[in-house]
């Protein structure tokens, strides 16, 4: 007799647990407000990326097309896998002295691991992360970017 009672109790408890599970899923079925899909290409205008998102490394320029990079190459030393190449050149200043300035700051987006060491260790805060995340291209050569814009120059007052 005891085994029959256990048998029936097993069945009853089992069916009850299944019904509870079905209750949860049907609750989500009937509430379309719980849909979390973001319709991506259509919602580009209203998409808000969080401010510290690591999309790519850029060199911020102000509206006078000036940046902070003085070509010291510390970011190149600190980059773990060689994604940064700093090419500098020597020019003559007005005082007649020779000064080293940045010629091209080459950044290989395809190889970067987004560790953030270049941004953190730059002594003049020349680099920053931007939130742009749409980088897909068909040609890998397009991923090698030159970060300092043409015609830009070092902002006055940034130390060497």
């Amino acid at each position: 007799m005891r085994s029959i009672i256990n048998y029936l109790k097993d069945i009853f408890l089992g069916v009850r647990s299944l019904l509870k599970g079905m209750k949860v899923t049907s609750k989500y079925f009937w509430s379309p407000s719980s849909i979390v899909t973001e319709k991506y290409p259509e919602n580009r205008k209203t998409l808000v990326m969080l401010e510290r998102s690591k999309g790519e490394v850029i060199m911020p320029h102000n509206d006078k097309n000036e940046h902070h990079c003085n070509g010291c190459g510390i970011c190149q030393i600190n980059c773990p896998n060689g994604s940064i190449e700093v090419i500098s050149k020597i020019i003559d200043t007005e005082d007649g002295k020779k000064k080293k300035i940045i010629d091209r700051h080459i950044y290989n987006l395809g190889q970067c691991t987004f560790c953030g060491l270049c941004v953190k260790t730059c002594p003049s805060n020349a680099l920053a992360f931007s939130t742009k995340f749409e980088h897909a291209v068909f040609n890998k050569a397009l991923l090698i970017k030159v970060l300092n814009k043409p015609g830009s120059q070092l902002m006055k007052g940034v130390e060497q």
Binding site: V15, M22, T25, S26, F29, I35
Partner: protein, 379 residues
């Protein structure tokens, strides 16, 4: 052309509004029959009628199959808090059509050492069986292709033949793992047919006849799930569980599961033959749901409580066709909920469930129902 002539003849001859047809299709079908008899000899009339009914069923099969595939993806998506197909056509309604076109383009890979005749025959088995069962279901008052006096018996007997298709597919693929999957599916289907049969037999006791139209007529004063209270509810639960196991769906889909091994009996099929198996699974689900709707929930009979009263008349406003499809699609929704909520059962647990739990309860339930009918304790 002749039939449409007959319809126009009928409608213009009477002063009955056109929408009355939806409440009672017998007038429409009788008039088409009369129109055809006028035009041709009896032999050709029957031939034409059969062709018309066959074409209608083919269309029905295709449309319902496509709709169910789309519905499954949408139901699954809404349960999982996401959108489902929403780009091909408005709300994604042409997604299944696109999938079908893709499957039609696929190459039908002929297996070298497989038994070609059986390999090609297997999908047709499942489809023909489905058609035979679809023909016996009453869709509305008057829309009943074959009204056999052994209706339920015919349905159970014919649907058991689909297991031949499964076993043929597994055997003729000449692959050890297809065969294993087919054996498992076959064992599962054969075991659960017992439960299906006994659950339906319980209702036959309550109704007193196996003829489907008589069963529906007997529910004019109330659906069987209310009339035969406890044993009918138990029979319904057992039938739904056994029905999903029959169609290899839901928590019982180990034979074709994605994260387990042996990939199932239809591994070696590609293109349109795979589409046949896939569609057949959905139509099987439709059949299970519609038989449950017919015997437990009254088929096309609206919800009535007791004899003719105001409530019944309100319920009668909705055409029977809509009642039938609403009930069927509600049960299909419940079956889909089973699949997407529960984890899978292992094959030996599946068979244990049937032989040690469902079958004894079914037999005891049958006795209880017989006792209740004898004592007259039902409504």
């Amino acid at each position: 052309m002749l039939t449409s002539f007959g319809i126009i003849n009928y409608l213009s001859a009477q002063s009955v509004p056109w929408w009355k047809v939806f409440y009672d299709f017998t007038s429409l079908t009788k008039n088409i029959d009369a129109g055809l008899h006028n035009a041709m000899s009896p032999f050709w009339t029957i031939m034409t009628e059969m062709v018309i009914i066959g074409v209608l069923f083919l269309l029905f099969y295709a449309v319902v199959g496509l709709f169910l595939v789309y519905a499954e993806r949408k139901v699954c998506a809404f349960i999982q808090n996401r959108l489902g197909p929403n780009r091909v056509g408005p709300f994604g309604i042409f997604q299944t059509v696109a999938d079908l076109i893709k499957l039609l383009f696929k190459e039908l890979i002929p297996i070298k050492n497989a038994d070609h005749f059986l390999f090609n025959l297997a999908p047709y088995f499942v489809i023909i069986v489905n058609f035979m069962v679809l023909a016996a279901i009453p869709y509305a008052l008057g829309l009943h292709a074959i009204d056999l006096n052994i209706g339920i018996f015919y349905v159970i007997a014919v649907s058991s033949m689909s297991v031949i298709g499964v076993l043929l597919a597994g055997w003729s693929s000449n692959s050890k793992y297809s065969l294993l999957g087919a054996m498992r599916s076959g064992a599962q289907i054969v075991s659960y047919e017992l439960s299906v049969g006994l659950a339906l037999a319980t209702v036959v006791i309550l109704a007193g006849s196996m003829q489907l139209s008589v069963i529906i007529e007997a529910q004019r004063t109330g659906w069987f799930i209310f009339k035969g209270h406890i044993p009918a509810v138990i029979a319904f639960v057992i039938y739904i569980i056994a029905g999903t196991a029959e169609t290899n769906r839901g928590p019982f889909d180990l034979a074709e599961a994605e994260s387990e091994l042996t990939a199932g009996y239809h591994t070696e099929y590609s293109g349109i033959k795979f589409a046949f198996f896939y569609l057949a699974e959905f139509i099987n689900m439709f059949i299970v749901a519609s038989i449950a709707a017919t015997v437990f929930f009254g088929g096309w009979m609206p919800l009535h409580f007791g004899a003719d009263n105001g409530f019944n008349r309100i319920m009668d406003f909705i055409p029977p066709v809509i009642w039938f499809f609403a009930k069927t699609f509600f049960l299909i929704w419940v079956i889909m909920l089973f699949k997407w909520t529960f984890p899978r059962l292992r094959i030996d647990q599946l068979l244990t469930l049937e032989w040690k739990y469902l079958l004894p309860i079914n037999i005891v339930n049958l006795l209880i129902m017989a006792f209740i009918v004898l004592m007259g304790w039902h409504f």
